[in-house]
Amino acid sequence: MQPNLQVDLAPGRKRDLVLKNPVMPASGTFSWGFDFAARFDIEALGAVVSKGITRFPRQGNQQPRVAETPMGMLNSIGLQSVGLDAVIDDLAPQWSRWGVPVIANVAADTVAEFGEMARALDGLPGIAALELNISCPNVDAGGIEIGQDPVASGRATEAAVRNTDLPVIVKLTPNVTDPVALARACEDAGASAICAINTVLGLAIDTKRRRPVLPRARGGLSGPAIKPIALRMVYDVARAVNVPVIGCGGIESGEDAIEFLMAGATAVQVGTATFANPRALLDVIEGIEAWLVREDVADVHEIIGCAQPQPV
């Protein structure tokens, strides 16, 4: 028997968000989906998550934008983006032909702009849900200074939820002392799901130049190096909220994903692993399925949260 992998990330909402399996790319590690679709079966994925959509096109940051670190990397891409109009006019119509839900990652500069962009994307064929990016560490406005404050995070969530019937996922930063407060604020403001985590702030120094490697000094750490941090946050957040949690951070195998599911995640995002292994997303899906078969688990829901003190 094939185990059931299907999950719903917006149960009981105006619009559901049913995924055939609990695996999707992390925003910003999958471009707009077309490079993957040209080479692999995109409909094998549970969902697609777009790169961060900004209100206007953005060039992104200067070079160098990345620094390799042990089992991971620091990035400071700076939300290079085609902008909202290109998504509406060019990309969403193409996404609408894919048999896989596409989650639009929205990176606004202000609380009000989250509302405007949510309204602009509401009801657009090709977009199944929004993921609010309130946690990008590599831009001057709109990212982390909203995402580190529970009140501002709640207001951004509310602004989006008020302007769309689409499920709204909020992606949290790990760069806070109390992620649970953030998650609760977003849930109270109407978020359908919480995604944890975005990148961990880090730094690399070029000893030859005696300067930070990245022009903005700080960058976002990702990759297997951050998996324990992400797992801890998922474990804490999943216990504190009633909405589904999407786990993200260092996942590169089915076994990694199973850990996040056991910690309480209903689905997972695979990010940096895709850079090291173009097949990583497919490997994770196949790995989850193989694990469930091997362990004789008929439905993925049987293991979600099973590692919690009391199952969530």
Partner: protein, 254 residues
């Protein structure tokens, strides 16, 4: 793009700290255009380093291909230590390669240092297509030059060294001399400083030669996913791995 295990056939030091490694990998060796690259993992378990490294195709022979690289870090040191039968994981071909002209022409290939890697495959294909080919390679000294025997016999090979220990003295862009007006097309691979001075030299009398360059940036992924390898061009920001690595010289160095 194909993912494949590449089996080492041979590994040879060709000069200074620079190696040529031949692999057997039918998928990786097929459908490659000159100037394209592949991503190769430089460890046995894909753990350390975590990301693959980008290498130009140096030569292709049926189901086999070669890369040429200087040992500059952990990854390339690992590759230099490989011996026949060893296996590495790789994916490719990737990116956009040179556009060789359809009609017969005089092609001038310029290589700065390890930028010579893609130029031998380019020269082999150009010669096979009936083009006249001059290849110029620049290095600090004679020890840093690819030996002449590595080029196809029909290629005129000009060496340029900064210390004058072999061939012309100076830098490639200073030594173009009579070859620049001779050329109908110009192709180059080397450091950005070389491209910058090439643009200086060709700005006024070389635009019709439509010079193409192969650029290098940090490429964690190699297939347009990470946006790490941005190149800022006259036409907007591009990704070196996906939109390049071939660019029009004057788009990047106007």
């Amino acid at each position: 793009m194909k993912l494949e295990s590449a089996v080492v056939i041979s590994n040879t030091k060709v000069y200074e700290n620079t190696y040529v490694t031949w692999f057997h990998a039918p998928e990786l060796a097929s459908g490659v255009s000159p100037g394209q690259f592949l991503m190769m993992h430089c460890s046995n378990d894909r753990r350390d380093p975590y990301f693959a490294r980008a290498f130009s195709y140096h030569r292709i022979d049926g189901e086999r291909f070669a890369i040429l690289y200087a040992v500059v870090g952990r990854g390339t040191a690992f590759l230099a230590s490989l011996t026949g039968g060893d296996i590495v994981q790789a994916y490719g071909p990737l990116g956009k390669g040179f556009r060789l002209p359809g009609e017969r022409g005089n092609l001038l290939l310029l290589a700065g240092g390890v930028g010579v890697a893609p130029m031998v495959d380019t020269a082999e294909r150009a010669v096979a297509a009936g083009h006249a080919v001059v290849a110029m390679m620049g290095a600090r000294s004679a020890a840093g030059l690819l030996p002449a025997g590595h080029w196809p016999a029909d290629v005129e090979y000009i060496t340029v060294t900064e210390d004058g220990s072999s061939g012309l003295a100076g830098r490639v862009t200073e030594a173009l001399g009579e070859y620049q007006p001779w050329a109908s097309r110009i192709y180059a691979c080397g450091p950005n400083a070389m491209f910058r001075s090439l643009a200086e030299v060709l700005r006024h009398n070389g635009r019709h030669q439509r010079p193409e360059i192969l650029m290098e940036e940090n490429m964690p992924c190699g297939w347009g996913m990470c946006y790490g390898c941005a190149v800022f061009t006259r036409r907007g920001v591009r990704l070196c791995c996906k939109d390049g690595p071939r660019f029009n010289l004057f788009d990047v160095f106007p």
